[in-house]
């Protein structure tokens, strides 16, 4: 079983940033962003993140191949329970700041989202999928 995240070929710009994979238990809430259903941060659902630079439209990411780079909270990626779960992928897009002091650093550029990735325009998210985790490959897609 693998978790595969595909980037729509329609993306023409290079994508740099943090890929987040969220899981939660099934519930009644229909909010399109899984991690907004139960609250953010410590009150929210488990999250597993890995950073990518230079992704392109059409690329496919197999999270299992990235295992050693994924950091999970509140438990590691390979401890995700094999049960009925809702899953969703999210991508925080980074921008390269070229500061006057000569440093170049990556970070999320504000587009009116108030400093929160979940509200910042142009970040990407996939549909929420209901799965029996561990049974079949999970395929999620970022669309424009």
């Amino acid at each position: 079983m693998s978790v595969i995240i595909k980037i729509s070929p329609k993306f023409k710009e290079e994508l740099n940033g943090r890929l987040l994979f969220f899981i939660d238990r099934p519930g009644e809430n229909e909010e399109p962003m899984l991690f907004k259903r139960g609250g953010f941060g410590m009150n929210g659902c488990p999250v597993f993140g890995v950073t990518f630079y230079g992704l392109k439209g059409g690329d496919e990411i197999n999270l299992d191949e990235q295992k050693k780079h994924i950091f999970g909270s509140p438990f590691p990626f390979d401890e995700i329970p094999h049960e009925k779960l809702l899953v969703q992928a999210f991508f925080i897009r980074y921008h390269k700041y070229k500061r006057k002091d000569g440093h170049e650093i990556w970070g999320m550029q504000d587009f009116g989202g108030g400093g929160h990735f979940a509200n910042n325009p142009f970040n990407l998210y996939s549909d929420v999928k209901a799965v029996k985790y561990g049974e079949k490959d999970i395929k999620l897609t970022f669309i424009t």
């Binding site: 909270s73 970070g107 587009f111």
Partner: protein, 379 residues
């Protein structure tokens, strides 16, 4: 993809949002030359302005400057929203015309590290403090009719905003005329939540002879631990990969308080994986941003400027243990006879234990004295 909720009009940018004026609420945004110079690209600052009921554009008004967290389009003190208990009745009170005739302002300065800049100069965020007092506040005063004197600039805020309200009054004592910091973030780095950064070795656990105990990060008002400090940090690490990109509380502390590393990112004050404290970075934090240490070091010239101006409030059961920093600062302020007030409340958590209306009335009385004193002086 998260689509913007509106199309930009000519000359608009998305940064810090765009909102439509309504009723007594105005939205202001400007490019900061100081910050744009630091970041190498245009950086904007925004403000949400609540005008007094009997606003007259020809008159000058004191301003209440509300600190802490990106407000979106929400007006100061959640005027017209009022979902939380302590704000209830504020809109009616404000609209009645019986409230003090002052201009209230809150601020939009989200950045790559957090939803708030902490409004001080920083090696990693740039000159937000200078931009605030040299660019943004004067521009708002000019446009909406602020008094333009220290007595006309009152600071207030809770939590993050509590720290900012205290820091701005201390770092710019000739610019601001009084402050109401509530349940403020670490006012003393001996009490950085539950950590004594100067003397502890590790933020994640407390070492006993035969046991290691995970350090709590939050509690309910009965004392039950809600989560540990490690858990909170690991959440930010999952979001950001490195703490400083986690857009959370602990990343922003490093961004605001730490020196810049060779790779351009903030140097962490502790190893995010192990919790081991980096004492050289603590020293830098202490020299630049430990507000209690700052008072202690500078009390001879500072105290005459801030006497009577500090109004500190916190709950004795602050959910993030911020009451400890409150006690530490209070001790030093009282040692130097600060003549303001500092109060805490039993069984109260992360809250100042006062309604907005009561606080506004307190400020009314304060302004009556300070603005009158100023007018007498200038006559």
């Amino acid at each position: 993809m998260i689509e913007p909720e509106y199309e930009l009009k000519d000359g608009e940018v998305y940064q810090q949002g765009n909102y439509e004026d309504h009723g007594l609420v105005r939205y202001f945004k400007m490019k900061s030359e100081l910050l744009s110079d630091f970041w190498g690209e245009d950086i904007y600052l925004g403000a949400n302005i609540l005008l007094p009921k009997r606003y007259d554009p020809e008159k000058k008004y004191p301003m209440i400057l509300c600190q802490g967290h990106f407000p979106g389009g929400t007006a100061p003190f959640r005027y017209d929203v009022e979902l939380r208990e302590r704000e209830q009745g504020f809109t009616k009170y404000w609209n009645s015309g019986k409230a003090p005739q002052v201009i209230c302002v809150n601020f939009r300065d989200a950045n790559m590290f957090y939803d708030d800049s902490y409004r001080v100069n920083s090696a990693n965020l740039g000159p937000y403090g200078d931009a605030y007092v040299q660019e943004l506040i004067p521009a708002i005063e000019e446009k909406y009719g602020g008094l333009g004197t220290p007595e006309g600039r009152i600071l207030v805020g809770g939590s993050t905003g509590g720290w900012i309200s205290a820091a701005l009054q201390l770092f710019c004592p000739d610019f601001f005329g009084g402050t109401w910091p509530g349940f403020a973030d670490s006012l003393d780095f001996h009490d950085h939540q539950l950590m004594d950064l100067y003397n502890d070795e590790n933020v994640y656990y407390i070492q006993h002879p035969w046991r290691k105990v995970e350090r709590p990060g939050a509690r309910d008002t009965r004392g039950n631990v809600l989560w540990t400090y490690r858990e909170e940090n690991y959440y930010e690490l999952a979001i950001g990969g490195r703490l400083e990109l986690g857009m959370g509380q602990f990343g922003i502390y490093n961004a605001v308080f730490s020196p810049c590393g060779e790779d351009g990112y903030p140097l962490p004050v502790y190893d995010t994986l192990t919790g081991e404290i980096h004492k050289d970075i603590v020293e830098y934090w202490g020299e630049h941003y430990d507000l209690t240490a700052y008072i202690e070091r500078n009390h001879e010239w500072l105290m005459p400027k801030i006497r009577g101006k500090f109004h500190l409030r916190a709950g004795d059961m602050d959910n993030f243990y911020l009451n400890l920093g409150h006690y530490a600062m209070t001790e030093v302020l009282e040692k130097y006879d600060h003549q303001g007030y500092s109060v805490t409340f039993p069984k109260v958590g992360h809250d100042g234990n006062i309604t907005i209306i009561d606080m506004m009335e307190e400020m009314r009385e304060y302004l009556k004295k300070t603005v009158k004193r100023r007018r007498k002086k200038t006559k």
